[in-house]
């Protein structure tokens, strides 16, 4: 029945068997998920990746494949690597901020500073 086909089989225009490897992870109500992975990885490769994994990990694998495919579609040159680079930059900024604040607190806790500033002891 057409209405019971998963998004993958709909996209591939084929019958959706009862043991379809894609059906649990690419429901018919979200056709874009499969469209992304099909464009970047290809249905065959995705099927092989999922097939080689224990069932309990296939959902997670499908999600990360979708995300990777989406990143690659959005940024064909860098894909996920662009996200990694952005996060590394954010990490550097946060680490710098943290070091600055810690230095400020350390300075403030110096006895001479406290005496000068007449701050209450913590």
């Amino acid at each position: 029945m057409n209405s019971s086909r998963c998004a993958a089989c709909k996209h591939l225009r084929r019958r959706c068997p009862s043991d379809c490897i894609f059906a649990p992870y690419f429901p018919s109500n979200n056709p874009r998920r499969f469209a992304y992975v099909h464009k970047i990885f290809g249905a065959s490769n995705v099927g092989k990746i999922l097939q080689d994994l224990p069932v309990s990990y296939r959902g997670e694998a499908a999600n990360t494949l979708c995300y990777e495919a989406y990143c690659r579609i959005k940024d064909p040159v860098y894909g996920c690597a662009g996200i990694v680079d952005q996060l590394n930059e954010q990490l550097k900024i946060a680490e710098y901020q943290l070091a600055t604040i810690k230095a400020a607190i350390t300075t403030a806790l110096q006895p001479s500073y406290l005496l000068d500033q007449s701050l209450p002891m913590l």
Partner: protein, 229 residues
Amino acid sequence: MSSGNVAGSGSAAAAGGGGPCGACKFLRRKCVPECVFAPYFDSEQGAAHFAAVHKVFGASNVSKLLLHIPESRRLDTVITVCYEAQSRLRDPIHGCVAHIFNLQQQVVNLQQELSYLQAHIAAMHLPAPPPLQQQQQLLVPVSPAILDFSPIPVAYDLSTVVAPQSSWSLYPRQQIEPQRQFSNTASQAAVGVGGGCDLQEMARELLNRHAPPMVGCSNQTSSLPPKSC
């Protein structure tokens, strides 16, 4: 093979009489002068790298991807595609997304610590340090609304991407025993020793090969620091 090939630096096997490029060698097909893979996969180690790319993405998909990208950006594309392919072979469940999760968690942890300390600063009546970057955005969710095929005109520092990482995954891999390698042949060819070192080495090879100015290729920021694994 035509010596007018854009990869005429002598490193790509398709130029001159060097034989097929690594991709065509792996695919066991004739390497034509206009082979899209030839500039980036040499006939020696290129075949091993291409094996991973072919296993995960497929030659046809990568070819289409490269053909839609300007030649000046293809080197970075190949490097990142190889990185993702190698990551997926090493971790079939998470691929390179594990690295993203890890970094994201680190950012969140640091931001929480920053907020906590900023509260202390305020309580101590100290002048606040420069404000935290407000544009620190966390990862976008996996349900995008827009399918945008246009390339983003940004160059990233790939040295931070392909550098070896001490821990890539938040998930305890020891709990599972998945088939980590799709096939012995492909994975042994693709997954080198030393963890991320082979990615750095691969990227360095590609960049060294393309160091001289080439026709159609401009020097982008995809340079690696000269450090060893």
